[in-house]
Symmetry: C2
DNA sequence: ACACATCTACGACGTTGCGTAGTAGACGAT
DNA sequence: ATCGTCTACTACGCAACGTCGTAGATGTGT
């Protein structure tokens, strides 16, 4: 159900429901429950808008992916080894992106 | 239950059980079931040894971590963005390890 | 004021994965 | 024959998840 995050931001339940309805046949309440549960898990934030709530992804997809990568790395034991294996798996393009990201980091940190 | 992988390799159920018993109070059959389930999920391989099976981790902890990192990255949408965020989260030491791993990769690939 | 639509809150049900464990059956050793 | 050791199969409780229904509050049109 995470593809709700593909939408821009701060949507009302109704809006998400309409959106989702185009591809899946779900009840309005189902969408609501999911949104609520995600909010409870802090994966989503919500703010009042009159009677209704507006939900917004607490963090973009990319941040979530990064968090998951961190979690995975933390379970590794030998982080060096894990990182080596990771870059081994990665495509050339991704390796280039990684180098780029690291370069940018270095530059920022001085 | 994954800390069974801390052990070296190719252990019989009995051996794993003995090992685990030192820190946790589990039934022999419990260990067996867990091993069996892990085997079904291909996280472990087994080979006959007389009547019994010997189990071996299909991949070391670090490989598993690397796989998880890959999975996370694949769910990112914008991989560049995800990698940037990832290196942002990472400690200095880990960033260094990453650079090292990338350097090694480059060297190997030419 | 009343009916109707729209929301939220809360509970419920089935499925799945997991940790734990018991029982049954096979087989070798004593 | 009886034990001990193994595997295979089944089961139970629990949590998470996807799905949804019902109840109650509140706003809107006539």
């Amino acid at each position: 159900m995470e593809q709700l995050w593909a939408a821009p931001d701060a949507l009302t339940v109704r809006a998400v429901y309409e959106q989702v309805s185009t591809t899946r046949d779900l009840a309005y309440t189902t969408v609501m429950t999911v949104l609520d549960r995600l909010a409870k898990k802090k994966l989503t934030e919500r703010e009042r808008d009159g009677k209704a709530w507006r939900y917004r992804a607490a963090a973009p997809r990319e941040e979530m992916a990064a968090d998951l990568m961190r979690d995975a790395l933390d379970r590794a034991g030998d982080r060096r080894e894990a990182l080596v294996r990771f870059v081994d798996q990665v495509s050339d393009e991704e390796a280039a992106l990684l180098r780029e990201a690291l370069a940018r980091l270095e530059e920022r940190e001085g």
